[in-house]
Subunit: 251 residues, 8 copies
């Protein structure tokens, strides 16, 4: 039942064409019906503050192009993630105004510049191998309108590198910490700052790294209080979580 | 090297008793020395916004009493978690001004009322068996000065119960979602609101619940974007993470 | 918004006291409001065909007695599961009309005889150690109004025992198969009959049985097509699933 | 011992050529002999109501063609699953009357239209990535003669999409719910309906999805009573289970 | 259908009271009927060469006494395993002619001396902590009528101890090797002898021993060809497997 | 120290050139020295009864050809396992007298016919997908000189197929049972016969089969006493174990 | 064959009573015989530099007392580990000259002061809950004659505490790092020093700490090069490894 | 703040341009600032005794060439690991003075011969399949200036091969033991020598080897005291650990 049908129902009620019991009967089933919720869903990006996002892994070039064309046609900003170079190039060919970041595996098509938000997000990563995940987080956050700083190669085995960047740490409002192997960086960062710390385990490592399980467990057991964790390699999810946090500050 | 020693060194330098190279040599080793950092550590609760917290599991009544007495003596607010009823009662006997919550397993001794912070934290939990963890989160957040709402028994198998509480969901600034078994509640909540959602898996369940692993995996794989996760049964950690978020709003 | 409020709103609309936009605005939020859904929930046992059920593990005798008293007061049949002997005896003391089955760990308080359903449920179990789970399933199904046959100690290492009970197998409309250790019985049964087979792994075994994981995996990988599985030791869940199936037959 | 031999034995007994003890001795070993059971096995599709099914993964095109040709020659309906596009096309080339569904990875060769059964099966899936498994279930069920409805992209993070399809949910006699990631959809569906719900975890997801383990555990721990589960990605098995259920209704 | 009924059927056939088709029809269902198979089952100990065995874990003293009394009454030798000292003493009180081995946790009641078999079984164990499992194997094998040698504390970290017992190794016909921790002993033994080697992992160890998983995996991956493995702590099973082997030699 | 050196030492001792203490000192270190053990190792195939065996996975065609050439040159029978078709064909090109079995992935080069052993080995497998592993076992056993029977597609979901082959089962001296998925076949076979049963789990299956873990666990937890298990897909190991057993019978 | 027998053999050879072939035949079997190796084993503590050690878990007080008495009787230093307070007190009662450390769970009976070794061992631990394992390591190392420093509560969430102890870190020759939860401390320490770092995961933590698995995996995946790891809670093993290292320095 | 800035600050203080409080304020933040720590980091190879090392897996040829060129330009010795043949050849083309070891997967570019260290490292491996990991360890250790012996194919199933190399074992100062499958070799070696033993599990094996987990667990549970373990396949890490140990001997 869309709004038009609802108006007709109310009109019919006022006109005495249907009685009260009928209207209530129809309305009581509303939780199972479609009272314009599709419309709300249509506005999901507004309700949740997210641009339209496509998870690119497992989709063909043709599927990606079709989906993006549809989204672009309705004026949305578009962010596609988990793209390899072939897909990225194919999207650039089709949508020359877009941007493909081969390290992050992301493609951005910006219809309107995202409204700038208050606050700074810092994306710190332990090693250069963690960069793709960190960059996915950074690209995503920028598509959400956030100012992003990046800090690279500050793993805990060379603790001075991290400590020497105290100003950068202290000036962030939210910090995403990306690390593979033992995943220890969020614990150290979480002990140095009081702002929200979102930990992202990466699948970097071999053997007993178990594709990111070691880092994931390390982060879930962080001895620094109040560190939260997202799925392995989920740079997008960390940025979305940061967006939920920073959005609250701007209200 | 404490501040006094540092002053003496600078004085000696100004007086020409030590030369520039000596001073630089001494200072370069500072990262390995103690330039009053203990003092900063002493003020960790200020730096991180946390009251002094004791993890009560595995500590004897005598140890707990001694630690709390020390903390109370320096005027700190004290929060002890993971206490059974025997320990709780023993702490009440020793510190009659404190509060023991047998459901949460927490003991609070409040020297000064925590300064009230802006914003509302909602702690929602799926079933009544998840209540101890949810309550630990609520008690912790209140000790950090936050206003806390609680929502109970809104598991996804009876989705109407959750949906009927739309106002409560919409008025929260941060939501902690506590669930055992399949851990699906954060996905539903995360799709309904745009504020930060912190998921806490509980060890509730049996068989293939594997002491909370099923719920943990469910939450890490949430199809709702931007949900973050803490360790199994870690109500305290979720509240600390919420505190990091709400603290930012208040600045 | 309860039905009364809804009636008032419609009346006000018909009277011209509120306009169409207001009514639509109020109604659009309904999915988040309470339009008598609580009432439906109140009738959950009717909607899902289930008596009121209490999971007894982790609840105190006092809690159990209070919950059952409440349920009994509103005329419901009551089934409590996972009770040890102490709890069972305490419930008998309080509710002398109830029945405690020490093997199944169940307590039944029957206000009105469950309406008899068509069809026969067979509960077969591999070894005598699996009996508690099988019995929990049988007791539950009987509380749902189903006729239940039980078949015991027909494990696959003595395949003649099972085969000699062909009549029993052939006369069942749904079969619950309970097995621990390697969990092979459902595969054999599933190959002998064409009716629904619900497999229940039990935590019986030691070493590499891993508390029921071996049986669970065996059942999920059954080479007999169309066998479905419930959680380890979940006799109640299997009976509930059987109830969902048999209920359909009776319509 | 085939029926002919059995006849000869009985004849010899009647004729006094063998005595009673010999006959009983021969018959007692029957459980280890072949008393026409192969014949019954030959009729397995009748006994279990299943068409002849081929699991296509790991078989070569030549093997598939040979097996299907044999089955077709004896007039059976044939269903092959887990086929990639190359295999599907090669089967179409060989058996032009068949149907290849590239999304489901199935090939159907229908000798005689399956007899229509009573009841409706609903196959609901959480996300578009789960479609291949859902479609395998739908194709399978249709080959068994069942009426199938499909519902797509009703994941729990956008709960309104599911709730708006209340009529579809309410009109189903059995529901197969297909979901990857956290696998929460069966819990919500199971709470909304009273008919049998068969949950199929898919290997959709990454990181801590562990190839479907997260979804599998979520479904095994469903807080909705009476949900049963099949193996990861096992759309065929779910349809077969649904067939066992619906078949009972039709008797 | 018991033998008597079968005789009646045959008689009726010879007498012309039933015709051939009827007899064949009755006989064809025999795999699902009871043609004295219970009788055969009754003789399972003869068919498999095993005495009657009771798995004592999880059974009460009363249950154990009742079962053993029944077995003893029909003249069987009885072996009960997994008994603690209380149970063992209670069985001795009831059956003074029995033998309780507190290390092995076994109780033996011997009605007739087991017929001596050819061949020697060697039970070797790595450390003194593995002794209970090794002794369970030894006691079991002796109840099956086998000659058993025992070799203790020959773990691989002191390889000379094992090598110095070359004569013992060389004179065995089957070797059971019991080891916890890394479970390496079967690999070394398997390389020194050409007779069957049955490996038994024990739950001895802590931390990453994971209750015997480390030893189990070590044994399954033994670099010595032809080593076979039984479940963790399953001394009984290893002895039964040895019995199957030695029994063949004696024919 | 080779035998020649040993002779020289003894000669020198007899001649009085070295004294008793020197000889004893030299001899005492023998466990760490080479007293012709390499020679014994050289004869490992004799000591353990095995032909020379090459694990082909991970070796190049060139490596395989070189190793086999060396072995053939010293007159050994050669068995190479885990070969794909390319390797098999390349070996046939180089050694035209050999035999490549593409299903088993084995290559045999027989210098002298293996001496025939007493006894019959039965290799039974649950499904056609398990055939490669079963065939590897059969080929291996024949290379060891054993008579091998094969039984295929006797999975437990069609239990009659297995039961109808009672004669085959009863005439075997050792049975290797190969099964994937739930791995239940060894339990049924183990209950029907009293000879040694060696279970081989295969990696056949998908989803929660976990590459053979489900079958492995099922077999380790077999409710049939005395079943032993080898590593996943280890047909060679099972045949070697059978050889160890049958070898004993022949003595 | 003990040295006396060997002497006799050589004598007989010299006297011409046995010929060369006989001697060589006897000697060739030596690896399987006992040429005084037991004597060497008797001196294992000398060969490996270890005092005699008893793993106390799972042993009764009586067993412990008997073993220690035997060891003390031959003048050995004795170290017993994993003792609870009851066992510790009972050992003190029996051996008043010993020392029981209730935190470490160790009992030491020192017959002769261990010879002091060169070099310093530092035992650092992350939190106070890790102290029992750290202390077990320290006590063990002292029994081996090493100088031990201890550093407590230097977890990575308060990185300044560790950095302020630079002198202590720099003056150590080997460092044992003990940590539970995420196990990150060894990575930081390993990056600060160039001496050997031995990491000991502890079972401290809850939920996804999985009894020390998280810490173990973190340490195995340490991003600091050259960190080695021992079993969970294995303070003794770490100290023994340190002893092997420091012993080398002293030569 | 670099040393120049620090000099200026001190100068300004002596000149009275800034007061004591300012200087102390600036200095107190030093742990978060850059007081020449980058310089120290620049010298990490000196501080930790390591050459510059590149983990080659996941890096492109172009990235490898660029990194090595930079390192070579500053006169460092370079070691790249985990290179396949294509990468190795490409590096040889670019840096003809380097050495590529295809078995180890390593590329070495030696600017100055590493200073020879005291002591001998023995790298022993169980089977030829373990050679790549063993060789990586050997190459790495030589780049650190250590003398390396190699011992191959001394797996525990042919224990004589290991025992016959007693001299080699006894002359080593540190032993790296590399093994896959059941990983038992370190336990045997650890029992034969008193020097440090570093165990490296390899991913060699199949089925229940689980990519090295079986070997890893075996080594962590070694019954030989004081064996330490590194990550699966981590030959480099083992060599680095050996370097840390031998470096201490040379001081």
């Amino acid at each position: 039942m869309n709004p038009d049908e609802l108006k007709k129902l109310l009109q019919a009620f006022r006109n005495g064409e249907v009685d009260e019991a009928d209207v209530i009967g129809r309305l009581r089933t509303l939780p199972f019906e479609d009272i314009g919720i599709a419309h709300v869903d249509h506005h999901r990006s507004l309700r949740q503050g997210a641009p339209e996002v496509i998870f690119g892994a497992g989709k063909t070039i043709e599927q990606l192009q079709a989906i993006i064309a549809t989204m672009a046609a309705r004026g949305s900003n578009v962010l596609a993630t988990r793209l390899d170079s072939d897909k990225g190039q194919a999207l650039l060919d089709r949508f020359p105004g877009g941007e493909f970041d081969p390290l992050a595996g992301t493609f951005c098509l910006t219809a309107k510049t995202p409204e700038a938000c208050e606050g700074t997000l810092l994306v710190a990563c332990a090693g250069t191998s963690d960069l793709p995940v960190a960059r996915e987080a950074a690209v995503t956050a920028r598509m959400f309108g956030h100012r992003v700083e990046e800090l690279t190669d500050v793993g805990v085995a060379g603790i001075h590198r991290l400590l020497s960047r105290g100003d950068t740490l202290r000036s962030a409002d939210v910090i995403i910490v990306v690390a593979g192997m033992e995943g220890a960086l969020p614990s150290v960062v979480g002990g140095l700052v009081s702002v929200p710390v979102i930990a992202v385990p990466t699948s970097v490592g071999y053997g007993a790294a178990f594709g990111g399980i070691a880092a994931l467990l390390g982060m879930l057991n962080s001895c620094a209080g109040g560190v939260t964790v997202v799925n392995i390699d989920n740079g997008f999810g960390a940025a979305f979580a940061a967006h939920r946090i920073l959005q609250g500050r701007a209200r």
